[in-house]
Amino acid sequence: MRYIPNSAQERAQMLREQGLDAIDDLFRSIPPHLKLAEPLNLPPALSETEALNYFRSLAARNAIRPQVLSFLGAGAYDHFIPTITDALISRSEFYTSYTPYQPEISQGTLQAIFEFQTMICELTGMEVANASLYDGSTAMAEAVLMAERITHRSKVLIAGNVHPEYREVVETYISPAGISAETLITCAETGTVLPESLSSLSEDVAAVVIQSPNFFGGIEDVQAIAEEVHRAGALLVVVVAEAMSLGLLRPPGACGADIVCGEAQSFGIPLSFGGSYCGFFATREKYQRQIPGRLVGLAYDGQGRPGYVLTLATREQHIRREKATSNICTNQGLYALMATIYLATMGRRGVREAAEQNTQKAHYAARQIAALDGYRLRFTAPFFNEFVVSCPKPALETLDRLLEKKIIGGLPLARFFPEMKQELLVCVTETIPKAEIDLLVEALREIGEAIYS
């Protein structure tokens, strides 16, 4: 096999040197009857050409642009990705190396993570950030667990407009830990959390978890919410599923959030059907020893030369075992690097410009759609690049009609909110030209008119 250097001859020779005659002698500690009598029942090996053709045929069975136009968002966003991102993460030194346990020959990875931590702090307005977590949903779960460790309280309040899949993940994580989650009802009109609704928080609440922009695209009044939450001695966890919004919106850290976590996919990471992505996690310095996951810090060698190392390891499973702040080990290193490269390339002005284009295009689309007979914006809160449209026809039907025109109009909210039969979650990023927005609007108009005519 071409991935195995030693030839059959060499292997035989190496066996002989050890005084063995058959490979099987090496497996003598496995009870004979447990050994496979015949080969695994898998397809025979494919040549490189055959494998490539097979995967091409699979890939061809997924619809992507230009075959379809898509207005899907809802936690996974189609943003511009600079070509250099892939060129740089394709350096063997980055993608074929392990977690940087040996700093003297891992400074490339370590320094890049240190830069990632810094950028996340800058974007979120927090003081410390870790090296990454699996994704936005698990980052939120880790935030809840950390809040419990800090407050020793066992209840969390999660806004009803947080990404439904994120909430499902938290449910899974906390149930064994004996933490209970309650849903914080949001305003039917604005679609956002009303600070007032938090005025009488009970004393056993460890944390209130909100998402901004929320699942419906609406921007929360984090500042006001933070005040209420802190009054009750609870922590405020702000989740950011669309990190691009940080380029434009007031950083949660500046609004009083105690933990800001979320998904960095928007920063140069391909959609790839939902993964791999990159969870980020930031908090206050005073909580740094409670942070889950890897942390990289500055260090010096004997001659006073600066370098970087994995640090505060006493939080981690390999040292603390069952007392660790988390069980995470392998995280999303290479994807944190992608995000770092993206943020460096776009930089101060690029992230801002991209964020503004998202807002402008989404609002243009919203204006056009809202102007159509029978369509309206479901919520009134200000939004970033996503908004909910109430359609004259059931959303599913509307989407089917759009699909006939090779347009994926958005996400039918009934999927998560059965009562929202008519509602469609529409996302417009900077990658969608005006012409495509106009196609969507025109198609919706036709579908709408079909009813009244």
Binding site: E10, Y134, R348, G350
Partner: protein, 505 residues
Amino acid sequence: MNRKATTHVNQNEGLIFERSRPGRIGYRLPALDVEAAPIPELIEPSLLRDDDLAGLPEVSEVDVVRHFTRLSTWNYAVDYGMYPLGSCTMKYNPKLNERVARLEGFAAAHPYLPEALAQGNLELIKELEECLAEITGLAAVSLQPAAGAQGELAGLMIIRKCLQSRGGPRKRVLIPDSAHGTNPASAAICGYQVQTIKSNSRGAIDLEDLRQTVDEEVAALMLTNPSTLGLFEENIEEVCRIIHAAGSFVYMDGANMNALVGVARPGDMGVDVIHLNLHKTFSTPHGGGGPGAGPIAVTAELEPYLPFPRVVRETGPQGENRLRLDYHRPQSIGRVRAFYGNFSVLVRALCYILSLGPDGLREATETAVLNANYLAHHLKSDYELAYDSQLMHEVILSDKRQQRFGVHTLDIAKRLIDYGFHPMTIYFPLIVPGAMMIEPTESEGREELDLFIEAMRSIAREARERPELVKNAPHHTRIGRLNEAEAARRPVLRWKKEQKQENQG
């Protein structure tokens, strides 16, 4: 300098923030093509950031390319040479997998594509599940867990959920003292007390001891097989029998499956749940710390508890085969992450499995085990073997013989760097004092193994004759040993404008 490596000129590079200069630009977006309204008219100013993102750098594309290219040259990599981290299975990452994972149809597919428009991805997921079920000898597989540790957590939750349905979740999880730290950590998150069980003198589970310890409060035994000592649990069947007899489950940490694929199947041994590390056994790149993927395989009894959604095959109205996502899984533990898993990793793993086929997979396993035994055979004269039993995919040595010269495992590891190798895993497993855990994998050819042996022997000699040389290693890297203790005492976890990271020498 030595046969494996020498030194060569290498570029310095500061932090990207230090490269930043006002007005530099690294990107170009298409001009905005819709009529723009002033942002404050769209979103209240109070909700907008007012720091102008000053904290992000301003650099050109050239700056970014130079910066990260230079950084990369400071790393060691599998593509440079042997990367013998024990229990990490640092095998070759095929370039074909990288190419395939980048096909637009995969990379640009949105997770919420209508199922009819994502049949290729669903097929890929289902096919990989089926391959892994066959490889592990278990009934069903979920690809959702993002890494091994999350696989452990999901697996334990499944056991917990099942036990609950039988009356109660129980209290304890048994974990051998040789286990990886994620095992107890996962058990704890899953709400279990961890009871450590001692390995016997041969590094195996003591059956008597096990019989004593197991009771109806034990939810599961978490067993790594082969263990982190590189040994196959010879009594695996009896162990499973004992555990099952008590109504509890056997969870197998499959991180070391590179020693078994194509040779023996955990399912056949009586294991109930196992996680696999696709970023180990199945050649997906470690990426300097992820992403990985930690699929779990379970018995038919436990299948209903797997995370949702599940990809299921069905026949459509026109009798065509198609796949869909099944969210209606009443007994499921729920989700462990958003969407369907680290899909881009799954693509690579399937490409690996299909490229090797049944024979190639077995050949890889056999060669990995052969290479490890070859190392043990040639190193035991200079280093203490932790256990002199039949080894599988890795060998554990200790610094016992070197200690008397004041040379310790850490020193030996650092000195290996001067010889052009990445060090082995050190001080793990915890039960072996000064452990050096060496896993060559099948990706190493004989010459590279011989160079490693030569280096280790030379270091053993240096330890006797010039201990200081070893204790102050590495000598040939761009920086020396870093003061990690100090770094943890006063952690500096981010760059700040004020504080320039200056040479303190």
